[in-house]
Each structure stands twice: as C-alpha cells, then as structure tokens.
Amino acid sequence: MALLQISEPGESTAPHEHRLAVGIDLGTTNSLVATVRSGAAVCLPDEQGRALLPSVVRYFPGGHAETGYAAQDEQSADPKNTILSAKRFMGRGLKDVANIENAPYDFIDAPGMVQLRTAAGVKSPVEVSAEVLKVLAARATASLGGELTGAVITVPAYFDDAQRQATKDAARLAGLNVLRLLNEPTAAAIAYGLDNSSEGVYAVFDLGGGTFDISILRLSKGVFEVLATNGDAALGGDDFDHRVFCWILEQAKLPPLSAGDTRLLLTKAREAKEAITLHGTARITARLGSGDVVEATRTTEIFAAITQTLVAKTLGPTRKALRDAGLAVEDVKGVVMVGGSTRMPQIQRAAAEFFKRDPLNNLDPDKVVALGAAMQANVLAGNKTSGEDWLLLDVIPLSLGMETMGGLVERIVPRNSTIPVARAQEFTTFKDGQSAMSFHVVQGERELVSDCRSLARFELHGIPPMVAGAARIRVAFQVDADGLLSVSAKEATTGVEASVVVKPSYGLADEDISRMLKDSFEHARDDMQARALREARVEAERLLEAVRAALAADAALLSAHERTDIDCRVEALAKAVTGKEHRVIKSSSEALNRVTEEFAARRMDRSVRNALTGQKIANLKL
C-alpha cells in the first residue's frame, strides 16, 4: 500500500504519476539526501534517524565496501583502505591536491585523475563517491517507496568541468539519473530565499569539510542571479582538524607517527573541534600504537588562536567576491551560513564582523544545501508547486529568434535546448547598397514577431555597399549556464561587429511561459498561413524593388510593347501584395518573373559586353 503525501490544491498527481525526486548534497565530509514531502523539504534519515552520512568508504579484500558511520568508526584501524574526503580528489591529478602527503592512502598518479590502491583493488575517487551515492539512493528509494525519477546533486561553485564530469560519472555509476548539478550556494539560496521570500543581495558563506565558497547572489522577483563567486577549493573543516592535529603533535613532542596513529589523532582532533564549538572546551586523550598516551586540554581561546590564519583565509576571497560584484559590505542584506564548519564560534564572529551584521542561520547549516537541492529536484522532475515562479534554467523555456523581413521570426535556438548553448546563422542584406542592418531579438513560439516577446534590438553599421543578398552577416546566439543570452552580428568581409546582452528568463513566470506555449499550439494553423503570406509579400517586394531599379537603369533595352507588359505585371503584383491571399501574390510574382526573364537576359549581355569592350584577352582574368 502506497503511502500518500499532501499535494497543493488542484495538483494531486494521478496514481503512479508522482515523480520521486531527491536532492543530494555530496559533501567532502558528510553527505545528505533530501526530498519534498507534503510541500516541505526534508532530509531523509537512515534507520537510526541520522540524516548525515559520513562520506567515508572502507574497502575490504574481495571487493565489497562499507559506507558511512561503520566505515568512519574503523578509519583509525584500517586507514589505507578507509577513504574519506574523496571529493577533494575528484577530477584531480596527484599534484593538484593540497596536503596530499598527509593523507594516509596509497596514491597512484593516473592520467586525468589520481587513483587509490585499496584491499579491494585500485579505486578512483569517482568509484568512492559512487559508493556514497548508492547508499543515499537506496535510502531514498526505501523512504519514498518507489523508484527515483532523478536527483539534483550539488557541487561547489568552484568545481571545474573535470570535477563536475567526475561527479556526474559517480552518479551514473550509482544508478542515479542526474537532473542537473547545482552549485551549492545557489541551493542554499533556494532553501533560504524561497522559505523566507526575501529579496536583495545575499552573501552565501559556505565553509564545509573541504571547501570554502563565498558567493554573492541577488534574489529579485524570485530569480537568482550570481553576481560573483570566490573561495578556496582547499580550505575547510579538515584543515581546522589538521591544525589541531599539528598542535597536539607540538604539545606532546611526538616522533613521526604510523598511519594508524595519524588517523587516530586526526579523529581526536575533529572530536575536540566539535566539542569546543558546543561546550567551549575539550579534553583530548589518545592511546597510540606504541602504548604512549597523549593528553591535552584545549579551550576556545587556544582554538581561536591556532586557527586564526585559517579564519583570515576566508576573508580574503570574501573581500574579492564583493569587489567583483561591485558592491560594498553595506549592500549585502544578509549572510547565509552553510556547512557544519560555520558553527565554529570564531567563524560566526569573523563573518559577523566583516559584514557588520549577524549571519542568518535559522536553517541547519549542514542540511540547507540538500534541502535547496530537493526543492530544485522537485521542480525539475515535474512536480510543480504553486507559488514557485522562480526559474533556475537548465533548458531554454521558449525559443529565441531574430526578426526577418516581413515581421517573421527566424528561430535560432529552439526551446528546450539545454544550456549553455551557442548557435549561429547567416543573414544577408535586402536592398542594394544597404550599409546597416537592424537586429531584433525575440522570444516565443509564434511565427510573427508581433506575437512574440521582444528582448532586445541592436544595429550593425559599416556593411560595405553590395548588391542585395551578397553580404554575409553571421549572427551568433549564445546562452551561458546562468541563462544569459548574448547576441552578436558580424559582417564577413570587413569584420565589423555589434552585439547585445539580454537575460531572457527575467520577469517571465511559469504561467507566462505556459501561456505562450499554449498560444503557439492553438494558433498553429493561423501562424502557418500568416507566415506563408508574409513570406510571399517579402519575396514580392524584393522582386518589385529589383524590377523597378532595372527599369530605371536600362529602360532603353525594352520595346514599347515589352515595357507595357512589364508595367502591367508590376502593377498587378503591387496590388496583390496589399491583399491577404498568399497564393495570388505568389502567382503574380511568378508572372512578373516570366515577363522580365528576357529583359534580365539582355541586361546581363550588355553588362558583359561593357565589361569586355576595349579589353585585350590577355588582360582578362579568367
């Protein structure tokens, strides 16, 4: 018996049609899975009620793997086969990873990505991450009572293409359909921005286990705009653990440690860090492999002192991001704290002092990214909830095109193209000697410009004079990952260029988009006829233009009888053009074409003769 969830009014899904979608925060230290249930985003806990899954995988001889708490508990006992923070190695070569010499693994430098030798064989970070994702996927399937339609997986804003691809590969390996990868700060903004629906500029301060990201976002009319991002791909809670670990070594004046002792002391360092955050002081006791006992007591003051440089390292990128966004500290309306490490009091204090305001932390900083990802997944899977007029585009909702002669739309980028996308098409001039061209960028599915939405206009000047149809103007449409459209036009021979940048999604609510789509279906037949009419008119006008120009120049080539014939056809066509019958216009155009064939041939002969007169054959370039 399926268990039901509450839907929004009027949006009950038909049986078996509710799509199960989850958001996954694939973290360096911990990972989470969340979904939208009865209208609210919630993290899905395991059988013990724990939402967090340590991103730790332990490999055993024979090939099987254990993931999560069980693996984490054994990391001191089996450090070489217990892989943690695999996210740091995703899509990275050996030399790219900071502090790699402190990791107790048996690395193999492979082309593209570092590999790890374990008891279960050589594993890539992608395989390790896939183990984590598999456990979360199984948990989600069990919790939701059905197969998953897809997942949104979050990545740090700093991930490059290789790291993003590695993350996608891991998901595929885990049998997950990736609806999209979402930047972690954007996910956090979704979780906060929508729940509290507050507009303005926000800073997302994300200090996770292994990465620090600062993002400056603008939330307005429900649309997220990333103004700037910065950060440190190798700074996180792990580094604070490591600093504490080094402090313990200094305090206890320990000799070089075995892999097991290193792992044990790192675990103790992490526990101490968490205890200090909660209680203000921590006592560290550890029995090393040699039998020696290490003891130390740390207070908030010592912790703050030994991690001062790490805290300072978060402020440099923050300053830079603000500068890139062209904003001052006063412009920031709120600071969103993300990542378990932002619980540390010295981080909260540093952020508060820098931004001159108390950071927002009414959502659990460990969960906020997963919750936002779940909300995004719910929308992408097609479970629409009312009031969600925000758009985080990963496809273009409506086609983008260009106005051509006759008020027709030439579609350049068809709707549902995934972004980023770039398309180009060549256009030409309509009149002889035309030296400028005006471009009108439109959005919509209808055939006539007047029925579409106008996005931008711009002009290209400096086209060299040529006969109509000879100029080649390449118009390129480019939509980047943030949905930003830029259109450029370039004339081929001279290279003159003009361009414009527009944000096509801006201000368009879901209803507008569906209305525009519906219109295009309902008016399909009208549009087809309208297009045929406009096309016939444009062709007819081009023909009239050419014939009139030819008559003005070379009327002498015609007999009086021929002239009357042509004039008569010109008049007939000029009259047909004003009518609404595209077939009449077409047949009139054809008639004019026929009576002017002989005229055109004579003109051709004469211009060839003129060109050749007085020339020696030897001088002709053939």
Binding site: M1, G10, A14, G39
Partner: protein, 107 residues
C-alpha cells in the same frame, strides 16, 4: 458518518500547514482515474468552497466536496511508517478492492 484523522495524522497535517504558512485545512476527495477506478485526492485547502462538507478532527479542518463524500464517508486518515517510508493512509470502509499499489480503489 464522518471523516476523521488519527491524532498522529492530525499532528503531521498541522505541522505541514504551519510550515507552508497558509491554508485553512486539508481537502480529501476522489477522482475517477487510476488503474482500479478511483483515486484519492489529498491536498492542502486554501479556501472553503460553499458546498464543501467540513469536519473537524483533532483541531484540523477537513474539507470534502459533496460528490466525493459518498465514496470516502467513514474514512479514517492515518499517518504511518513502513520501514523508512512514511506517509498518509486512507482507511476507507467503502473500498471493495484496491490496486496492488493502493493508490486507486473500487467500491
């Protein structure tokens, strides 16, 4: 007869409603779709329609349109947990048979 919620179901509905920030109650109903004839409708209610039949159960207003009521009259809505899966369950005395999935039914 009436429509009732178990206390657990009512707690969850109240929780969801307050999280959602709007809504007057819960709407139950049936639709004539589904692999076995009828399908349950379980939605938040933002307004009371003039012909709605309203019930009050553990402080939650339950609304049913008069056309649906005969199919689900006497239903008790429960909130249950089956392993990791949790959600609402209709205990409907009118049901003759259900499809295997339980999302649709026949009377």
């Amino acid at each position: 007869m009436a429509i009732t919620l178990t206390e657990k179901a009512a707690d969850h509905v109240s929780g969801y409603l307050s999280k959602r920030g709007k809504g007057v109650g819960l709407r139950l109903g049936v639709r004539t779709t589904g692999c076995s004839g009828m399908a349950y409708k379980l939605e938040f209610a933002d307004a009371v329609n003039p012909d709605d039949v309203a019930f009050d159960s553990h402080g939650v207003k339950v609304l049913v349109d008069p056309k649906s009521l005969p199919y689900i009259d006497g239903t008790e809505l429960d909130y249950t947990r089956e392993g990791l899966n949790e959600g609402f369950k209709f205990r409907n005395p009118n049901v003759k048979d259900e499809c295997g999935c339980g999302e649709s039914f026949n009377i």
